[in-house]
Symmetry: C2
DNA sequence: CGACCATTTGATATGGATCAAGCGATGTGG
DNA sequence: CCACATCGCTTGATCCATATCAAATGGTCG
């Protein structure tokens, strides 16, 4: 099961100080935004590598980022997708356990990790925020575990519903990742993902308006599959 | 795929103040042990339920605890096993996301959550420990994700190696859980787990000395499978 | 237009699930 | 102490969902 390999592509441009869209601020982790620089990455560009020192934490401004890990024989697992507003790369440890790549053209806010950690030392409010963020990651990872014991149809349905919710784009989803990315996230092959989507379309559960644009026609049916 | 249901059995005895075996103390989280009471649970007794308020955190003293979640149709996922020395039930949120049951006769140290949280407010050392513990959980969950994309043989091999390492019982493992627990942890059926073990025994990779006692005869072969 | 890449579709193979029965240890009552 | 029920595990036969292999289609860009 060979999958595409991440291209260590050069970022589109060097960090530019300061400019942070106000919309990026969310209650959780919002404090962090003051101290960042923005960078752009083109599709499949590596943002940080597995095993590399975790010197930065990141917030997605636009586009989408996937975290992934590749086994010796080439099988790839995509741990998760990070959408605009999401933070990633935050761990108390000094090394990234997954690599991170842009799954679509993306802008990312880069924040010095040491700065945050130092501040959390004194600021128990911030310390708790960091803990909460890691716990959210944990929750997501556990939810994903529950997905991986289900059937292909259930996995795809769950994925679509999650994306619809997180993109806050009710009833239609503009997927910021390839079929291969989805397959590697769901532990399926690209063919199975494709076939499952086609099947759902035949059942009028969804409409594949364009390969990356999915309209949710029958949300109830998807929820039912989500079991 | 119906699985056994957890019995809400009465604990063997009521909490007894104070007595903490010194061996239970580990560097991480060791600070917590001063404020606990010990309880005993018999096999399959529920320690805490999914969705219940997370008023306590726990440390396994002896035996083993599994965390699990059951889907509407009865499919069960065992999120993880907690062995002597391990902490579980720690989350910044107010509700448990998994239920916890004793997978074998167990003694568990029970610690009031509020006491710990209050203390972490002032003690940035402790706060960081809590964060680190959650991050360890996350790491385990992610490692488990990688297991679930592998073949049955790889999953079982990985599981045995993990248990051997965590039980620090080199070359032989005394499994503190049923085949069904293992199956639900690995996303396999009980039959497949059993067959895989038998197969490995035929290959002289392991020896099933007793159904719960596995001797690792050829660790290299297991590691190779672990891919 | 032609090359390239992502996606879909088709035909076939297979690993693990499912259904069903057997086995061995443990415990209980007569 | 033995018949017998029970429980956890193993073994066997068959089936099916998904992987694999292969080719066609479609969209994008120079």
């Amino acid at each position: 099961m060979l999958t595409q390999t991440a291209v260590r592509a050069a970022p589109l441009k060097e960090p530019t100080r300061g400019h942070v869209p106000p919309t990026a601020a969310r209650s959780i982790g919002g404090t962090l935004d003051m101290m960042g620089a923005q960078m752009s990455f083109c599709r499949n560009a590596e943002i940080s590598g597995e095993g590399e020192p975790a010197d930065y934490i990141y917030r997605v401004v636009s586009g989408a980022v996937r975290t992934s890990k590749v086994l010796a024989d080439g099988r790839r697992q995509v741990g998760g997708f990070y959408l605009p507003g999401d933070l990633f790369g935050l761990e108390p440890g000094d090394e990234h356990t997954f690599s991170a790549e842009a799954s679509a053209e993306s802008k990312v806010l880069v924040i010095k990790r040491t700065a945050v950690l130092a501040r959390a030392e004194r600021d128990s409010e911030l310390a708790r925020e960091l803990w909460t963020l890691t716990a959210q990651e944990l929750r997501r990872s556990q939810d994903h575990l529950m997905l991986l014991i289900k059937s292909a149809h259930e996995r795809v349905a769950g994925f679509l519903l999650e994306m619809a919710e997180r993109l806050a784009d009710n009833s239609a989803v503009e997927l910021p990742m390839s079929r291969q990315d989805i397959a590697d996230h769901l532990g399926l092959t690209i063919e199975t993902v494709s076939r499952t989507l086609t099947h759902m379309e035949n059942l009028a559960t969804i409409e594949v308006a364009a390969s990356r644009r999915i309209v949710l026609r029958n949300r109830a049916a998807l929820t039912r599959l989500n079991a």
